[in-house]
Symmetry: C2
């Protein structure tokens, strides 16, 4: 029987009691806030409207045990935003989980024969 | 710090070289073909058009190493369809994989703290 290469794909997200809380889209938004120091620039970098990015941040902040993003008002560059410790942790936890699952997947991929 | 219950969610599918090949939707279609003995009845049971179900079956049959569904023409009840051994195997492989990943997830779920 000829061989065929199958690849296992997976999409992961974390639900909080009220539904979807953190997936790769939100994780990337958090990373960009960390890199750019503002929600406006983070949103621009992923071609998202400021309004939508702001709503996602509000939603995460409200539903996490501790806020993930802290808004900073005033200062030389106008208003900005930084990740809290909880925000940094959320990114790490997400990738740790993704890595764990990818390890299982890479062990399984070569065993699939359909 | 208050406790919060997070749940890890995951969606799995299998890519073949030309892209998505088998996900939960197609697996359910295969199961229903097995149960009902026809593509028409399988499609009805999941509120899918016959045309779409037929196209999914054609696509799977063309892209798997061996066809997953065999169409039977004639007979008392008109034309029907049955799963081949490869079709049975595809269902099993998919659920085996899902179970493996769910084991990792259930070990991880209670450890998430964000």
């Amino acid at each position: 029987m000829p061989n065929k290469k199958y690849t296992i794909r997976v999409r992961i997200w974390i639900d909080e009691e009220q539904g979807p809380f953190l997936g790769i889209g939100r994780v990337i938004l958090l990373e960009r806030i960390k890199e750019t120091g503002s929600i406006t620039n983070a949103a621009k970098s992923i071609k998202m409207s400021y309004r939508q990015a702001w709503q996602l941040v509000e939603d995460m902040n409200k539903r996490a045990v501790m806020p993930l993003v802290e808004k900073i008002h005033g200062g030389k560059n106008g208003s900005g935003a930084v990740l809290t410790k909880a925000g940094e942790k959320a990114i790490k936890e997400f990738y740790k989980l993704e890595e764990k699952i990818n390890r299982v997947i890479s062990r399984s991929s070569y065993r699939i024969s359909i």
